[in-house]
């Protein structure tokens, strides 16, 4: 028991600080990613240029294939070239947002596309305006798929955000890097365990939000 008390006495305040930074990074990155990817995904279902859809989904897919570490490195170098800050929150957020886009974009697009066309046609035929079809029919029916994308993105972002410690953005990655450099298990655990717990808590919370938002009669993503 003593060891545990010592552990928290030594690392507790720093853990709290780094966890807060981690939540902050994840939260801000996710909000930005959702604000970009959901409207873009909706737009892609309506565009008259199918090539644009292919290009956008392809582009987001390519970003995803770049290893997270390399993506962060690229952004730092690009930022250096255009004289933007290369350390701290800004480059970290850009990397996280880019990485989070694909699952949300893809799921929003497929979610809306999989709504039964006859349901959309009957909504139109009854005299709904395009935005009423979107908000009253298409979005409620595709919500579980969109939320599944957001949940996947969030869990990934929590993991990738640990790498942002490398460029001075703080977060739980700081503790992990410290542990690695000094070969100290304490630090490693102090960074890893809260990151894992965060991923679970975020996923669980989003699952709750999904259940709350999803209309009765539409299966949620966990119900399949």
């Amino acid at each position: 028991m003593n060891r545990l008390a010592d552990f928290f006495a030594k690392l507790g305040p720093e853990m709290a600080q780094r966890t807060y930074e981690h939540i902050y990074l994840t939260f801000v990155a996710m909000v930005i990613a959702i604000v970009i990817a959901v409207p873009l995904g909706i737009y892609l279902t309506r565009t008259r240029w199918p090539k644009l859809t292919t290009a956008a989904l392809g582009g987001a897919g390519v970003i995803q294939t770049v290893p997270a570490l390399a993506l962060i490195a690229f952004i730092v170098i690009i930022f250096a070239l255009i004289a933007l800050p290369t350390i701290g929150t800004l480059p970290a957020l850009v990397a996280l947002v880019l990485y989070a886009l694909l699952p949300i974009l893809r799921n929003t697009h497929t979610g809306i596309r999989q709504v039964d066309p006859s349901v959309i046609e009957v909504a139109t035929g009854m005299g709904m305006k395009p935005h009423q079809v979107l908000f009253q029919v298409e979005l409620p029916l595709s919500l579980p798929v969109i939320m599944a994308g957001i949940r996947i993105s969030t869990v990934w972002t929590i993991g990738i955000a640990t790498l942002c410690g490398l460029i001075g953005a703080g977060g739980l990655g700081d503790l992990i890097i410290k542990g690695l450099r000094s070969i100290q298990m304490d630090y490693l655990l102090a960074g890893t365990v809260p990151a894992a717990v965060l991923a679970l808590v975020f996923d669980w919370t989003l699952g709750g939000i999904e259940k709350w938002l999803t209309p009765r009669g539409v299966p949620t993503s966990s119900e399949g």
């Binding site: 909504a123 009854m126 709904m128």
Partner: protein, 327 residues
């Protein structure tokens, strides 16, 4: 009145779905668009509420060109019911029924009242069904909600795209009968699409038979069966011709031939009775089920005479002789 004036529709890729269609549909009339898939019947119907827009020609509703009207306004004045899934799965029965009144911004209490009225009208107890979801209903119940929803804002025109297509034969017949009863009370102009010639004969005031985008014949069911306008119509009716001619002929139309010779004192039986408007098929069925040799014919409460089974069979044999295909 709905007027089609030289209406054609060519889709991208050059498929001509409808070719130079002209017809008039009177107020309160039920016109069934009949044809195989690809005949252009659904395209024709969807042009009325501008889900599909004509490539050339004009469509008027009560003298106003629909292309000069706001499509949203236009659609809210036209009821729309489609086959199968049609209902919004995420809305309750009540919410589904309330969609158009909601779009028209009726006050909440008026909507609630209307929903209950409509559900009762299509034979669903509002207390029991209002808060159910479509998945909690049988196919027949879902279709009733579909019909109720299309009637919600009391539109003068209703478009129905194979509304009973996905139902089993018994439920289907039940809903057809109920809709006929309902329609005779509320008197709407109905455009009804089907590929089922028996459904067409049953529901229609007039049938518009279409093939490959062209209107082949527009006439009453009995006229269609008795006087096919061309070879296509004749072939389309094909081997159903005999059955159809029994279906489209009422007892009334052959009554003198069914009555016994000499004066009759009164009805031979009190129950069951035949209705003058019933088809010869219905009459045949009733003789078969009751095992009687003679049944009284009534027009509402007026006794017309006792129809004889023997004589009915003779009439039917005669029709069979007339409609037998020349071999």
């Amino acid at each position: 009145m709905i007027t089609f004036e030289n209406v054609s529709k060519a889709f991208a890729g050059g498929v001509e779905a409808v070719k130079n269609l002209s017809m008039e549909i009177a107020d309160g009339e039920t016109v069934v668009l009949l044809g195989t898939s690809g005949s252009g019947k659904t395209t024709t119907m969807k042009m009325v509420n501008r889900l599909i827009e004509p490539s050339s020609g004009r469509i008027f509703i009560d003298g106003r060109d629909i292309m000069e009207q706001d499509p949203i306004e236009l659609r809210r004045k036209i009821g729309y019911a489609i086959q199968h899934i049609g209902l919004f799965p995420h809305m309750t029965v009540g919410e589904n029924t309330a969609v158009v009144p909601g779009l028209l911004r009726w006050p909440q209490d008026k909507i609630a009242e209307r929903v209950d009225q409509l559900l009762a009208m299509v034979g669903l107890d509002p207390e029991e069904f209002r808060d159910r979801l479509p998945v909690q209903l049988s196919g027949g119940q879902q279709q009733r909600v579909g019909v109720a929803r299309s009637l919600a804002a009391d539109p003068p025109i209703i478009l129905m795209d194979e509304p009973f297509g996905a139902l089993d034969p018994i439920t289907r017949e039940q809903l057809q009968n109920e809709f006929l009863d309902l329609e005779s009370e509320i008197k709407k102009t109905v455009i009804f699409v089907t590929h089922d010639v028996f459904e067409a004969v049953k529901m229609a005031d007039r049938i518009a038979l279409m093939d490959a985008g062209r209107l082949q014949q527009l006439s009453t069911p009995s006229d269609l069966v008795a006087n096919p306008a061309n070879q296509f119509v004749d072939d389309f009716l094909g081997r159903h011709r005999f059955q159809l001619s029994l279906l489209t002929r009422t007892i009334e139309s052959v009554l003198p031939e069914l009555l016994p010779e000499g004066a009759e004192p009164g009805p031979a039986e009190v129950e069951p009775r035949l209705r003058a408007r019933s088809s010869l098929i219905d009459a045949l069925d009733m003789f078969k089920h009751t095992g009687r040799k003679s049944l009284p014919v009534y027009q509402r409460d007026r006794f017309l005479g006792n129809a004889q089974k023997e004589r009915l069979l003779k009439v039917i044999a005669q029709i069979l002789g007339e409609t037998r295909e020349p071999s």
